[in-house]
């Protein structure tokens, strides 16, 4: 990294920031429209003129104008800091995920490790929000988020280890370069586990217990208003972007496809978009599990499958070398 000039560092940072601001909105708008059409509705149609394309921009403007309320009994610092703690890890993760060998915010050797470590921090923002709000519903939501954390981190790390083992590298670029279509079958169980664990990490349906609106109002985010609330929403959608990109890079071969030399970044984005649409699709079609049911799912299915995947990968690697 030392060979980068300061101008290039700034340019790269700005590019990542732009992606960080645009991609989640893209996913959010896709959710609005895809969900609406699945439910026999139209979704936003007015903001911006063409099929409501500017709806989320309008929402953002509205959030900015709202009063920033901090509850009287809240832990002020933790309460104010929480949205940032939830948001920044997504930004860092986005900088590390390559769209193609050349289109990447920051080239890091052990990027898989760093990405996993960084996205694990985001949950702390939720826990802070839940504790600092001085609200019983928020506290319950934070408790649920913490209980959920136990269920998904382990299987996720195990399957990512399996992919790293298969490629023989901890670099995301290296993993994708080692990827062949044969992996689709070989790493399939791992991909399923990663996707399920990712949904749980994102707190998306069917694992949205921490924010279950019909049970605990909005969980840890109940007391938030205005821009801080919008940051939590942005963190959720940025999380979807990160998780989808990671899935595309680890399991779907990222930029491999026709004309990958020039259009590779587009392939990665398209594959990630497909994953994001599946995430949205789940939300439209399924109810929510209970916290203990997720834990049962994790320990009875996800962890054993992940371990099995690790063993299968190890056998495969030994046989092919």
């Amino acid at each position: 990294m030392s060979d980068l000039g300061w101008l290039e560092v700034v340019l790269r940072a700005v590019a990542v920031l732009a992606g960080f601001l645009v991609l989640p909105l893209l996913v959010g708008q896709t959710e609005h429209k895809v969900m609406a059409h699945m439910q026999g509705r139209l979704g936003p149609m007015y903001a911006g003129g063409f099929h409501g394309w500017a709806q989320l921009v309008a929402d953002g403007v509205k959030f900015v104008q709202k009063e920033d309320v901090v509850p009287a009994r809240a832990d002020r610092w933790a309460f104010r800091l929480a949205p940032g703690v939830a948001l920044v890890p997504c930004l860092i993760a986005l900088a590390l995920i390559p769209l193609s060998p050349n289109v990447v915010g920051a080239k890091v050797d052990a990027s898989v490790l760093l990405v996993l470590a960084v996205i694990g921090v985001g949950i702390i923002g939720t826990l802070m929000a839940g504790w600092a709000s001085a609200n019983k519903y928020s506290l319950l939501g934070a408790m649920r988020a913490a209980a959920q954390l136990v269920s998904y981190e382990l299987p996720m790390v195990l399957v990512v280890a399996s992919v790293a083992l298969a490629a023989g590298t901890l670099s995301l670029i290296g993993i994708t370069q080692a990827w062949t279509p044969w992996w689709l079958l070989w790493q399939l169980p791992g991909a399923v586990v990663f996707f399920v664990a990712g949904l749980a990490e994102l707190q998306r349906t069917p694992f949205d217990m921490p924010v279950a609106d019909s049970e605990i109002v909005f969980g840890p985010y109940t007391e938030y208003t205005g821009l801080r609330f919008a940051f939590f929403l942005l963190a959720e959608y940025a999380g979807i972007v990160v998780m989808s990109l990671l899935f595309a890079v680890l399991f779907l071969g990222g930029w491999s496809g026709p004309w990958s030399g020039t259009l590779g970044w587009l392939w990665t984005l398209l594959k990630a978009l497909v994953v994001a649409v599946v995430v949205i699709w789940f939300r439209v079609s399924w109810p929510r599990l209970r916290e203990d049911q997720l834990q049962r799912l994790a320990w009875v299915w996800l962890v054993p499958i992940a371990l099995l995947q690790l063993a299968v990968t190890a056998v495969g690697v030994v046989m092919m070398r």
């Binding site: 969900m35 019909s214 049970e215 109810p287 929510r288 599990l289 209970r290």
Partner: protein
């Protein structure tokens, strides 16, 4: 492991509050809460997420309906009476007019009897569809409600065409209906009923066919038959617990004697399980039965000769001295009016027995020991309307 020999020592293993001092937390669910559809309030005491005790606190929507009945004449009472359970307006009107007609000894034209039966069944379908849509919402499924409302729209269009109202129909009058049915209306009812029946499986697949929904509802919130009987629970909730009672069959009124008689399309749906899933399944199956009943009513109406649909009333309607209890099977359960008249144009007392009041009273027995997530599943599956509780 070295202390393993000192067996008397208490060892706390695993994550959680075991061994630590904990305090129970009092949590108010409502009167403003996304799961309470209105202003029901539950005061629950929780240990972590486990409910220690629950107390329904009612009365936030009390409008003094019974007292107001006493200063309204019988035409005006219908307006008030159709409001307590706003999802079953037609069925609510029905009890009042049946009671008054009975006291007057009034003969209601056949066409009115069958038109009322038809509209009551359509109203039942509308009510059930609402709960089939809103209950999954409690469980986090956001799509079924749109499917349910698509079907509701179909039926509301025909209800609106006949009565002019979409919610509070005000179509019943003492002695019949407000006015005759529009020309060609019966055909449109048949089409609407057929459309709803055709698309109902779409909704059903999102509900009973879904593993997650099943995991959330099977064996959750079991209401035993004895408990249901002890609290006077009625309607679909009681029938899901194996209480085989339906006033349409047991004390026939309107055209139900014929519909539930031998060879008729009417049948009473009962299940034994008594859990949330059973309650949902009863609702779903009852919707089908009601669609069949509506079809039978259309056939019967089409075969009737032209004639009046109401009885001409005197300028001042006075009900003779006496008393009557008239109970009907509302979509949510028994709906009874106890009418005491002293020969005036207003009732001396009109007591209302509404379904949701009894159905919700059982919550205090059902909720302790459940998780908060299950509480919402149970609360939703009790299919109540807050206006029907508070009156």
């Amino acid at each position: 492991m070295t202390e393993a020999t000192t067996s008397a020592r208490e060892l706390t293993v695993g994550v959680g509050a075991g061994g630590l001092a904990t305090a129970d937390m009092v949590l108010n669910i409502g009167p403003q809460h996304p799961a309470t559809h209105g202003v029901l309030r539950l005061r629950i005491v929780v240990d972590g997420e486990r409910i220690v005790s629950a107390e329904p606190i009612i009365g936030y929507m009390h409008r003094g309906a019974e007292k107001l009945f006493e200063v309204r004449d019988y035409r005006q009472i219908i307006v008030l009476a159709n409001r307590h359970d706003w999802l079953s307006a037609f069925a609510n009107e029905l009890g009042v007019v049946l009671a008054v007609e009975d006291m007057l000894g009034m003969e209601v034209p056949q066409r009115a009897v069958w038109a009322r039966t038809l509209l009551a069944e359509l109203n039942r379908v509308l009510n059930h569809l609402m709960f089939l849509g809103s209950y999954p919402l409690e469980l986090g499924a956001i799509t079924p409600v749109f499917y349910a409302f698509r079907e509701r729209e179909e039926l509301q269009a025909v209800m609106e065409e006949a009565s002019g109202g979409r919610m509070h129909y005000m179509f019943n009058r003492v002695g019949g209906l407000k006015e005759d049915l529009p020309a060609g209306w019966l055909g449109r009812v048949t089409e609407a009923v057929a459309a709803v029946r055709r698309r109902l499986p779409d909704l059903e697949r999102l509900l009973v066919g879904n593993e997650i929904l099943e995991a959330r509802t099977r064996g959750v919130g079991v209401l035993s038959r004895d408990l249901a009987l002890g609290h006077g629970v009625s309607g679909p909730i009681a029938r899901a617990s194996g209480v085989d009672v339906d006033l349409r069959r047991d004390t026939p009124y309107l055209g139900y004697g014929e519909l539930f008689g031998p060879g008729g399309p009417g049948r009473v749906v009962t299940l034994e399980a008594g859990d949330c899933l059973a309650r949902l399944e009863v609702l779903l199956e009852q919707t089908r039965v009601s669609l069949d009943l509506a079809d039978a009513c259309v056939d019967r109406l089409a075969g009737l000769p032209q004639g009046p649909i109401n009885v001409k009333l005197p300028k001042v309607l006075k009900v003779p001295e006496g008393q009557i209890y008239c109970a009907t099977e509302n979509p949510l359960g028994f709906n009874g009016y106890y009418l005491v008249s002293r020969g005036d144009k207003t009732p001396w007392r009109l007591k209302l027995r509404s379904a949701s009041f009894n159905n919700v009273s059982v919550l205090a027995e059902m909720l302790p020991g459940q998780l908060i997530a299950d509480m919402v599943a149970i609360l939703g599956s009790m299919f109540f309307v807050v206006g029907d509780i508070d009156k």
